[in-house]
């Protein structure tokens, strides 16, 4: 689960991490009031969507009067912002974050990720703040330092000092850097975050000298741990998620929309991916990924068919079930129920295997409905592709 930048900043602030003074606004009037309350003479208006790359797409504006704050907010709210992370369909801006503009002297990068090699959290630091970190890693890997964190011992001060020195946070800034790194780690661990990215962490000029400040923050949380993270769960913004994916997950289905025209209903994530691969290898294009999971009841199968068919591009549905804890007879009954209740017009190509396969096939054959059956994955994919190419 992702959260907005402003939510990440508010969260970090509770851990003592310095962030600019700011406020969220849902319309131009609120934006003006927010800027007035924040005070100062320069503000940054930032569109709040879950994707990065907002600056280049026009989602970040620095302004120096209240009229321009309102204008910037008015332009952004309701617009579809297209960045390299949103995909071509973009994401509609529902709210903006107004904050006091900082006088930035230098920018750094801090990231905390779960490293799959060591199976531990790794702190990544770089002197190249404000840049795309993947690009930095590819072009100038020497500008990146990593430090693996032992979960039983936690992030130690000396590790933070090591990272700070390597990226150039020296002298008076070093103790601040140590404090910031440790606080972010603590926040991440407490809240079951999979990823925390601070880009940039900036040195800003203030009345009392140079100061470190988090100017942008991105968090991603473990869906499997949301049951114990009430405050994080409350930050969920469903408007940022694909409504069909949200609906599917409500039915215990894992659905991801794709661009093709062959609908897919499969059990198990691996087999579902392999089914998309088989379709692609036969020259077809899958319309979606859908994992019905284990214990697929007739209701679940019906819901799966309905969600897949909501995509107007779908010309046929490939059902590929290899039953372990599932049962082919339940799937077959579910498909018949779906055909009858949804009045399905597109061809259904069905491949059943595993637990109770003979009963499942018998139920389909005796239904009198026009299922196209296939003995194996290859035949099923070939038949589906042949149908859409007719």
């Amino acid at each position: 689960m992702n959260i907005h930048e402003y939510q990440a900043k508010e969260l970090l602030q509770t851990y003592g991490v310095p962030v600019p003074i700011g406020s969220v606004a849902f319309n131009a009037t609120q934006a003006g009031q927010a800027a007035e309350e924040i005070g100062g003479s320069r503000w940054v208006v930032k569109a709040q969507i879950h994707a990065g790359g907002r600056g280049k797409a026009g989602g970040v504006k620095v302004v120096d009067n209240l009229d321009d704050v309102r204008k910037a907010a008015d332009t952004m709210i309701g617009t579809r912002l297209v960045t390299h992370q949103t995909g071509p369909e973009g994401s509609v801006v529902q709210r903006v974050w107004i904050e006091q503009a900082s006088s930035i002297q230098k920018e750094f990068y801090l990231g905390f990720v779960i490293d799959r090699g060591t199976q531990r959290i790794t702190l990544i630091g770089s002197s190249e703040g404000g840049m795309d970190i993947e690009e930095v890693a590819n072009k100038t890997p020497e500008k990146i330092i990593t430090e693996v964190i032992d979960p039983a011992i936690g992030l130690r001060d000396f590790q933070c000092r090591k990272v700070a020195t390597a990226i150039g946070l020296k002298g008076k800034l070093m103790p601040q850097a140590v404090k910031v790194m440790k606080a972010i780690y603590r926040c991440m661990r407490d809240k079951d975050a999979l990823q925390a990215e601070i880009n940039p962490l900036a040195v800003v000029g203030s009345n009392d000298g140079e100061k470190l400040m988090v100017l942008d923050a991105k968090f991603n949380f473990d869906d499997n741990a949301l049951y114990r993270q009430k405050t994080i769960t409350e930050m969920r913004d469903l408007a940022e998620e694909d409504p069909k994916e949200v609906e599917a997950s409500g039915h215990g289905l894992n659905y991801i929309a794709l661009d093709g025209n062959i609908g897919c209903i499969v059990n198990g994530a691996g087999l579902a991916m392999a089914s998309l691969d088989a379709i692609t290898l036969h020259g077809g294009q899958p319309a979606n990924f859908l994992d019905v999971g284990g214990g697929a009841s007739p209701e679940k199968v019906t819901n799966a068919c309905r969600i897949v068919l909501e995509d107007p591009n779908v010309k046929c549905i490939l059902v590929n079930i290899f039953a372990g804890i599932n049962r082919c007879d339940w799937i077959a009954k579910g498909l018949i129920q779906a055909c009858e209740s949804l009045k399905i017009q597109v061809p259904l190509i069905v491949r059943l295997a595993g637990t109770n396969v003979d009963e499942g096939r018998k139920i389909l054959a005796e239904s009198g409905l026009a299922f196209i059956t296939a003995e194996n994955l290859d035949a099923a994919a070939a038949k589906a592709v042949a149908i859409v190419k007719e």
Partner: protein, 296 residues
């Protein structure tokens, strides 16, 4: 022979009296698995399926000599149950659950250091040595005895590959599902090493998917350390980047994470690769013919 579990394994079920554990314990026993009892805290002293129930794993181990545990405990309590199994001296613990918080797994991996236990899973169908021992939820009837070791991240794709092989008369020694989570108890290399050391396993099939460096690391290890042929397949050629494809671990975050990049790397290292998920069985057969290995 086989890896991790066999006819001598003494199996207990943690969360024994639950619905799923009951069903799968019965199924395991029906193929000859030596289930010796189970654990459900609060129900110690009773019997279930004609077997003793204990409050703790330590008591179960002391009374039955159990060395393998099937952990059928819900995700919020699963890692605690795994730690209890390790603490009680269980040698192989298999955890089926999908949905364990990743920090719990990170802590488990730390807790395990210096302790001699194999953890299979989470988010796996489990492990099966046909005709001897099944600890998991896979459809046992598709697994026939033979000389091929199979290891996979995905459950249903493991079934798919197994059936393709069975249709060609190819059987297996042991099937190990390491699971679809990004932090898991056993990696590919551990399983490959066990297959390499197992005298009955003559061929090894490794089925991976998008996300993470595991498959390539294992393929590299195999080139240096394995005498037996390795056949690989990686699911997700058609997967878009940045999207989590069902499994928590299946997400493309860099070029090296893609299915094609992984299969290219495997091929470059000299392993057999099935580029089409429907051709895993025939690729195994071709590898066996090329290497002069008898079909069993």
């Amino acid at each position: 022979m086989s890896v991790f579990v066999n006819k001598h394994s003494k199996v207990i079920f943690q969360g024994f009296t639950g619905e799923h554990a009951t069903f799968h314990a019965q199924d395991a026993m029906s193929i000859g698995t030596n289930v010796v009892g189970g654990v459900t805290p609060g129900k110690g002293g009773t019997t279930h399926l004609g077997l003793p129930v204990f409050d703790t794993v330590a008591e179960a181990v002391a009374a039955t000599g159990a060395d393998v545990s099937a952990v059928f405990v819900p995700p919020p309590f699963n890692v605690d149950a795994l730690m209890e199994a390790i603490d009680a001296g269980i040698k192989v613990a298999i955890t089926i659950a999908d949905g364990i918080p990743i920090y719990d797994m990170i802590r488990l991996q730390r807790y395990r250091i210096g302790k001699d236990a194999i953890i299979i899973g989470p988010n796996t169908p489990g492990i099966i040595t046909p005709g001897e021992c099944k600890v998991g939820i896979m459809p046992s009837h598709i697994y026939k005895k033979g000389n091929i070791g199979i290891v996979s991240r995905s459950g249903t794709l493991n079934y798919e590959a197994t059936e393709q092989m069975a249709d060609l008369g190819l059987g297996i020694t042991t099937s190990v599902g390491i699971g679809g989570d990004p932090v898991n108890g056993t990696d590919f290399v551990t399983v490959l090493r066990a297959f390499e050391e197992d005298p009955e396993t003559e061929v090894v099939v490794m089925i991976g998917e998008i996300g993470g460096p595991q498959e390539v690391a294992a393929a590299r290890w195999a080139k240096e350390n394995m005498s037996k042929p390795l056949i690989g397949f990686v699911a997700g050629v058609a997967a878009p980047p940045g999207r989590r494809m069902g499994h928590a671990g299946a997400i493309i975050s860099s070029e090296a994470d893609t299915a094609s990049a992984k299969m290219d790397a495997m091929e470059k290292l000299g392993h057999f690769v099935a580029r089409n998920p429907a051709h895993i069985g025939e690729t195994v057969l071709r590898a066996m013919k090329e290497r002069g290995i008898a079909v069993k």
